[in-house]
Each structure stands twice: as structure tokens, then as C-alpha cells.
Amino acid sequence: MGLELKGLKKVLGGRVIIDDLNLRVEPGEMISLLGPSGCGKTTTLRMIAGFLTVDSGKILVSGKDVTDLGPEKRPSAMVFQNYALWPHMTVSKNVAYPLKIKGLSKESIAEKVEAALSLVNLLHHKDSRPGRISGGEQQRVALARALVQEPSILLLDEPLSNLDAKLREKVREDIRQLQRRLAITTVIVTHDQEEALSISDRVAVMNNGKIEQFSTPHDLYNAPATEYVATFIGSLNRFEGDLIDGLIQPGNYVIGVRPEDITISTESRAGSYSGVVELIIPRGHFYEVVVRREDATFRAFLNINVPLVGAQVFVSINKALRYFDGKLVA
């Protein structure tokens, strides 16, 4: 078992932030803790790293109980959100620091630092100061510094949030490739579901200190276990009632329909709704089409046969998720 969290509980400022949290991560797996701010994901990460004490429960890394160890003794290495590079040290010295503490020889340190910096393609900046390199480069230094420790667990705190959009995609790929190559158990904290889905083996969707679902991106999207997960991951058309013969009827359920499961046609047919196209939002390679009726709004994704704004169209639902009391039912 790469990482195991058993029954974790944490109270901060009188509020219960985390209650009875359980998680098992396979060795070499890359998982994300995903959720909005305040859901407890950062608290959980900091408990794994050792910066927060655990009120009750256990943390095991590679089978060893590390719950009572301070951060300096844990086999984990963290890449901080703002990189936390020491401004008075060069890039090499930053990366060398953990090795210096271990007491390795100068030659050994130089060798390992060089290896780490080449891994992230920053050898040319080894004598630069952090203040003089770009944000993306700083992050790579932080990553090198974590990897040079050969940790059992790699922790990444919102690794992409400070980067601009184009850079984000590239860095995402780089991190994923690196992690696959080194096969280090990795936990990422993020609030961006696209980020989580694109690079994780599994994602733990968190809400109010609890993990609502811990699955592969595919299962999270296609079979979200709770209404919360369905709304958080991807877009969702939400209706109250029941879906019978493709039409929304009064009922006790909450019906969720993914935008790509909605068809828009210029002809009416059985089980379709009429409506007027209110808005067309270009999304690059597809369009988001908003159709409005007095009693409902539908959002659909289309990339061909896109109607014009104001056109009268007919909407049919092909597939839906049904939730009772927040949980997925057949």
C-alpha cells in the first residue's frame, strides 16, 4: 500500500474539518484530491505531509505508521503552491538542501542535484537566483527539490493554479510523464476538475471534509455516485422530478443530464421539448447551446448543425442520471 489514511479526524478552530476520512492509494499511483475551497483537501494534504497533527486516525506510508512523526522525519516531499524557494540561495543550493541535511558528500550532492535539474530541464539555471527565473521555472526547481529526496510519496499543492493557461497544459503533461517514469506515489490537491481528470489515475472528490467518491475519471464522469459529484464534475442539466419516456415528469428524484446526452433537432418527435435558442457560446471545437422554455433551461454541446439564436428547436434527452436523497439510483 503506497499511502493509507485510516479514520482521520481534524478539528480546527472549533470546527470539524475532517471526519473519519479513509483513503487507500496504490504504490506508484497518481491521485487527486479534488474539491472547492473549504472542502478539506489542503488540510488532508498537510496532515499527510506532517504540518498538521491528526486528532484521531492513522497515516501509513508504505505500510509504516508515520502519524506521530514530524514533517522532517516523514518520507514525503511536498511541492508548495507558491514553490517556497529560498530567495537567498541559488537554484542548485535550493535543490541540494535536503541532501546537505542528510550529510552526503559534496560529490554525491553535486551529482544528484545535476540529475534532478536535468530531469526538469533546468540545468542551465543552476546558479540563478529564484527571484530571477519565471514562475514555471520556479515550479520546476521546487519539483526537482522534492524529487532529489527520492521520497516515498510526492505531494503537490495546487501545482498549476499559478500558471497561465497555455503553460498549464504543458506542465500537466510533463508532470504526468515524470511521475510515470519514476513511479512515485503522488497526491495532488486541486480545485480544477479538468486538471484532476486529465492526469490522475483516480480522483477523490471531496465535500465538507468527506470523500464523496474515489474513482477513475471515467467512472466519475459517467457514473457519479452522488448528486454533488455529478454537479462538480463536468456540466450537468439538473431537473427535479422523474424521467419517464424521455420526458421530465413530477417525481421525487433529481434528474441529471449531461450536455452531450441532449439532442437538438429542427423537427419535433416523441419525447422532445420545444424551446427557443437563447444563447450560443463558442467553446473552440464545439458550441454550448442554451435552449430556454418557461419551465426549464437546457444546455447542450454540439459541433455540427448548430442552430441560430432565436430559432425554434426541439430538445430530446437520450440518457440521464437519477438521484434520490443525493445518491445515485438505477
Binding site: E72, A84, Y97, I101
Partner: protein, 319 residues
């Protein structure tokens, strides 16, 4: 009220906080003009006396130095066009002065070291552990700021004096606590007492400015608290520590009231000796010579402060 004029003027466009706009002619002239009053004040009442005092110390006795030259004794008049070094020679060969100089430097170094160690200890405790006990320590350290120096000197005198608290308290245990007043130890106690607040304020604010993440990342790399202090905290707080050290040592170097109340008669700190020579012994020229020697030492320390400031501003990219 809606202004029809253009929205951005030439001076302030898009400057970020703390940035200065590039120097145009008008702000430059305006800036100089606004700085004139204090500049003149400092120039006339500090710069000028220092210059005149310097000339007097070198033996120029005419003009503004005429009155003092008549009043004072043992005045050496200039023997070359640039003056004379006789007064300086007098002072440097004076055994009394030498004793004072040694004492002054000794007390300054010792007190500054003690102040910095104490302030560092308290500020580090506050930064790394924090909590109410840390706040109590910091608040205690700031108390001397509230007390005028004259009173501090007197209060410390009565506390450590012949019938002061220390001797009173220990006499009840049969211990004969030494009378510390009129000894260099009392001067050290007094200067540490009065210098602590500023040092704590500077060093504590310097340490507080270091983000938690820099400490946590060091721990994540395996650093113990001791290592964090040595490798991360102290280097990053270098500038405030140097500022505290400079201010403290410059202040103690020229101090007058504390050594007057608490120190021995001989040797004493140079501040007291300067006053003695000017007043009681009526040797104003030698008094000024001593003042310039102290100023030379203080300037050396001040240069260190400015250089450290400039260096740190360069490194962080501000200059």
C-alpha cells in the same frame, strides 16, 4: 462631479505600489524644494556646527570659534594652513581618554551582542512557537520604550544600588549581592535595558515577514528547528538584524545619561567625558576632538548599515 479632463496624468500612470515614476523635470525640482526646510535645518544646526567644530578641533580659533576660544583653556591654535593636529595628539596620548575609549568600545560590543542575542532569542521563539507566552515576552521587551532615558537610568540605579532591590532581596538569604552601580556592569545593564525595544521591533518584524511556507519547505526537506534558524531564518532576516545592531551600537557608543547615572567616574564612557571636558574641565577643544573620534567610529558602523541595505535591495531586485 464628472471630470472632462483626461483620466491619467503624466506623473502617476500605472505606477504600482511603492514604485516611483520616472524622473521628470518638475517633480524633481518640486522634490528638492520640499526637502529644503529640514535640509536647511540639519545643515545649519548640525552640519555647520560639525564643520565649525571640526575646524575648532584643528585649531581654527577665529570667527565663530572666537568666543569659545577665549572661554576655554588649553586651546591649540593652528600652526599650518590646514590647522594643527596638536589637540588630537593631546587627546590620543591622554591616558584618561584611552581608558575611556577601551571602556566605551568594550561596553558597546558587549551590550550590542547581548541585546542582539536576547532579541533574537525572543523573536525566534515568537516566530517558531508563538502563542501567549511569546506575546508576553515581546510586550515585556517593548516596555523600556515607554520610559524616558533619564528615568530608566535613575530607576536602574536605585534597583542595583547600595540599598536597592537586588541587595535588599538577597540580604534576606544571607547573600551579599554586589553593589553594581558605578561599575561598567551597571552601564551594560542600563544600555541593554534601553536598547532592547528597538532591536526586538526590528528583528521580530523581520522574522514575521518570512512566509510560513519557507519554514515548512525546509522542514519537509528534513531540517530540524536549529537548522531552520541557521540556514533560513537568520539569513533572510539579515538586514533587520544589521539595522538593529547598527542603531544599537551607534546609540551606545555616544550614550551619556546611562553611563552618567550608572557608571564609574573613571574610566567612564566617552559621552560623559565629552561633557566633562566641555563643561567642568573647560577644555572645549579636546571635548570636540573626542566627539569626532566617536563620530568616526559611528560613521564606520553607519556605512556598514547603508551598504547592507543597498546590497539587500539589489538582491531582491528593488534596485
Amino acid at each position: 462631479m464628472i471630470s472632462l479632463r483626461s483620466k491619467r496624468n503624466s506623473e502617476g500612470s500605472l505606477a504600482k505600489k511603492g514604485e516611483r515614476p520616472s524622473s521628470h523635470v518638475r517633480p524633481g525640482v518640486l522634490g528638492l524644494a520640499l526637502s529644503l526646510p529640514p535640509l536647511l535645518l540639519v545643515g545649519v544646526f548640525i552640519g555647520l556646527p560639525i564643520l565649525i567644530g571640526l575646524t575648532f578641533s584643528l585649531g581654527f580659533t577665529a570667527g565663530p570659534n572666537r568666543v569659545i576660544s577665549i572661554i576655554g583653556q588649553q586651546i591649540h591654535k593652528k600652526s599650518h594652513w590646514w590647522g594643527t593636529l596638536q589637540a588630537y595628539s593631546d587627546v590620543l596620548h591622554d591616558s584618561r581618554f584611552r581608558g575611556d575609549l577601551v571602556l566605551t568600545i568594550f561596553v558597546t560590543v558587549l551590550s550590542t551582542t547581548l541585546v542582539l542575542l536576547l532579541a533574537l532569542a525572543i523573536a525566534l521563539y515568537q516566530r517558531l512557537i508563538g502563542g501567549r507566552k511569546a506575546s508576553v515576552l515581546v510586550t515585556l521587551s517593548i516596555v523600556p520604550l515607554f520610559v524616558p532615558v533619564v528615568i530608566s537610568a535613575w530607576a536602574i540605579h536605585t534597583f542595583y544600588g547600595g540599598d536597592g532591590f537586588m541587595r535588599t532581596f538577597f540580604s534576606h538569604f544571607g547573600i551579599n549581592f554586589p553593589t553594581l552601580t558605578s561599575t561598567p556592569s551597571a552601564i551594560v545593564i542600563g544600555t541593554v535595558w534601553t536598547s532592547l525595544p528597538f532591536a526586538i521591533l526590528m528583528i521580530s518584524s523581520g522574522l514575521q515577514a518570512i512566509p510560513d511556507a519557507l519554514i515548512e519547505s525546509a522542514k519537509d526537506c528534513g531540517a530540524s528547528s536549529l537548522r531552520v534558524i541557521a540556514n533560513i531564518l537568520i539569513p533572510l532576516a539579515k538586514t533587520p538584524i544589521i539595522i538593529a545592531g547598527s542603531f544599537t551600537s551607534i546609540g551606545i557608543l555616544g550614550s551619556f545619561t546611562i553611563p552618567l547615572f550608572l557608571g564609574p567616574n573613571q574610566p567612564t564612557m566617552l559621552g560623559v567625558e565629552i561633557s566633562n571636558f566641555f563643561g567642568s574641565y573647560n577644555r572645549p577643544q579636546q571635548s570636540l576632538v573626542m566627539a569626532f573620534i566617536v563620530f568616526a567610529i559611528a560613521s564606520g558602523i553607519a556605512v556598514m548599515y547603508v551598504r547592507s541595505n543597498v546590497k539587500s535591495a539589489k538582491e531582491s531586485g528593488r534596485l
